[in-house]
């Protein structure tokens, strides 16, 4: 499954890079969302997968069961998901604001606007 995920992640990165190069700001933001998902998955896979146990310690024990999932990559990803959402929300509102103020969602037009100022 790790090998398969490597290809899935590659595909997600390729799609997000393609989207980031579009002129439509909304698609750019979608590119950011997919890229952060891809990176989270990358961390998860690089921290090795286990189909067995979650990183939990059962009542009465002091150590998690042998072969349980790697908690470190999960902690990292948890942070990344939340921060990624913050970034998304901010970017999306910024795009919305840009449209309300300047009347366009076209990165090209924004550039021309900037040079006109």
């Amino acid at each position: 499954m790790e090998t398969l995920l490597a290809f899935v992640i590659g595909a997600l990165v390729a799609i997000s890079v393609y989207l980031l190069q579009r002129r439509d700001l909304v698609r750019m933001v979608i590119g950011i969302v997919i890229l952060s998902n891809a990176v989270n998955l990358l961390l998860f896979t690089a921290g090795r997968l286990t189909r067995a146990e979650a990183a939990l310690i059962s009542v009465g024990a002091t150590l998690p069961p042998e072969g349980s999932a790697n908690p470190l990559s999960q902690a990292l990803i948890l942070t990344a998901i939340v921060i990624g959402f913050g970034l998304l929300a901010f970017s999306l509102v910024l795009v919305y604001r840009t449209y309300r103020s300047l009347g366009t969602l076209d990165a090209q037009a924004l550039m021309e606007w900037e040079f006109k100022e």
Binding site: L12, N37, L102, G103, A107, M111
Partner: protein, 786 residues
Amino acid sequence: MGIILAVFSGFVLALVTPWTTRATGRASGWIYSVVPAGITVYLATRVAGVAAGETTRVAYPWVPGLNVDLSFYVDGLSLFFALLITGIGTLIFIYAGAYLRGHHHLGRFFSYLSMFMAAMVGLVLADNLFTFYIFFELTSFASFVLIGFNHDEAASRRAAWQALLVTKAGGLALLVGFLLMEQVTGTLQISAILETGDAIREHGFYTAIVLLVIAGAFTKSAQFPFYFWLPNAMQAPTPVSAYLHSATMVKAGIYVLARFHPVLAGPDLWIWLVGGIGALTMLLSAWLALQYTDMKGILAYTTIMALGLLTMLLGLGTETALKACLVFVLVHAFYKAGLFMVAGAIDHSVHERDVTKLGGLRAAMPATFGAAVVAGLSMAGIPLLFGFVGKELIYEATLHFEPAMVLFTAAALLANVALVASAGLLVIRPFMGATNQLTAHAHRPDVGLWIGPAVLAVLSLGLGLAPWLLDVPILAPALSALMGMETAPYLAIWHGFNAALGLSAVTIALGVATYMAWEPIRTSAPFRSLERWLGTGLDNGYDHAIDGLLALARAQTDILQNGYLRRYLATILVTTVVAVGYGFGYYGFEGPVLSFVNVASYEWVLSVLIVGGASGTLFLQDRVALVTSLGITGFGIALVYLMYGAPDLAMTQFLVETLTVILFVLVLAALPALNEAASIGHRLRDGAIALAVGGMVTTLLLAVLHQPFNNRMGSFYQEFSYSEAQGRNIVNTILVDFRALDTLGEIVVLLIAGFGIYTLLRLKRTPAATADRSSVSTPTIEQVSS
């Protein structure tokens, strides 16, 4: 302690003068000259000790981790130069006070001048390569602000920039040379490096070190082909020209060559490069000087001639040559600073410096005239003046330089002939003859304007009559330090009838003839073209080099920073892909065997959903469909987390994904669809970049997965989660216990993002934006070629 005071009192004065000059007023020059005079007296008390062979070293740790000390070293050579700097400095301070009397930026001027003097003293006394370099750069900076002192004139600004760029470029080369020296000798301490004997000469870095050090010295001391900045630097007020660009700063390059002479000189590379370029510079500039009618122009080129001569002597490297070098440093400083101050006094009096327009000033300016005559005679090398002693030694040196006696003697002879003529131009033309309209109303100069040249004239005359006074206290310790061994030189006014005396006679005779024939020589075609090629020609070459540099920068900016996000992305990503690809190509790729046999069927389904959902965002136009498609990817990933033992992640991902979809739907409802008309060519190019990056990530991940996994950190948390943090959910203990501060930081970031969002939503629409809205808002714009 005294040494530290000697170096830093100038910096203190530089901080004080901008505030006190209003109070000191007309007496500013006299009052401030107490500082250089005091340092001179202090240094003079060291002369006896140094002559007896003692050296002093003081060191304070500065950057101990890098072995950089604030250290100073007083030996014969450094004391020789330090005395020259502060001694001439005292006279220049007095002169500047009179020359710039009433100038509204007088305080600023003295501040720059003191800063320069302190930096120069620090430079010659420095005993650490970095200390040395820092003071070296400080002198360039001081020169920059002083040349550009009249900053409202474009010519001054250009000259200041030019001097700065040329000398700083050389300074960087010098720094690299110093670093290599440190590599070879293992120390930054200059006095220790001087003890290493042949270590540098025998090292493989020798050629590089010599070339780099020479680059620093030649730019600073205006050697061919870098000398063009020095005549332009004459834009500075005359006291600055006299002090920095003739007597002291330009000798910093000479000092560099002299300081490291014991460890660098000797091999053919040094002799021919330093000696040869020095001789060439000397010869060219001596005759270029005769092309000018502006006194400061003549003085500038004869200064370059003197610097070339000093460089040549350091290249020859024989004992006589080095002795001649030291003596000529003094000779030149005395007459050249004097003549500069004379030129300034004339300019001050009649507002004209063109020798063809001046005349008959001897009556109006008797003291200046007297000083000018002595300086001019010393410059021409007439017997009984200090200049004669210097010139005899120069001929002695070239006549005894066996490998190329004729070549160097001829060069020195020809250069000195032109120098005699220049001396005539500078003294006879302005002062002798009849007064004219311009000079008839010359007013008598103030004492401050002639006291400096007068003192220097006394020195030129006195040392010409009794040069042996210098033997023991000054010359012997300096020469010993320069040669790296004990010597006992002596100076005399009479060496008997020898070849040098004959050459002196020839020089004077030819010089007088050249002076007589000055007008025809100046206007003759060959000399005109000499000036056009090697005078203004080099200056124009500098302009072309700068223009080329700017054009290159513009072209590079246009390519790399054109404002298109996708161009930046493409540049960064393609560079990364190429770098990583090169890494794989170089080290080889080791990945797992690509086998999908034990992938369960639901895992295939999940993968297809994730990739399929993401692919949908590429071509779906309808916004709701777009968001749905994006949602499929996110929820698919949440399922992956759930399957592989990460329930916390899955839960968060579900939540966040839901919020994301809601947010998109809300926002997109208010936004129009944009139909992007990208050409097929652009799509293909973007697609190729995207595939390359995706492929790179897959390859990297496969390579990582193939490596053995060392999870020391993960195991640590597994082991201590319960015992240390009393938590059963390890991921949670990491976030809220082990790495609680990081989590706090993250919450703060979210809070700030929240504030940002709130502000953006509440922002009032700007009127300007509304007015122009129609002109920008075009739903479909042709993709502009990028």
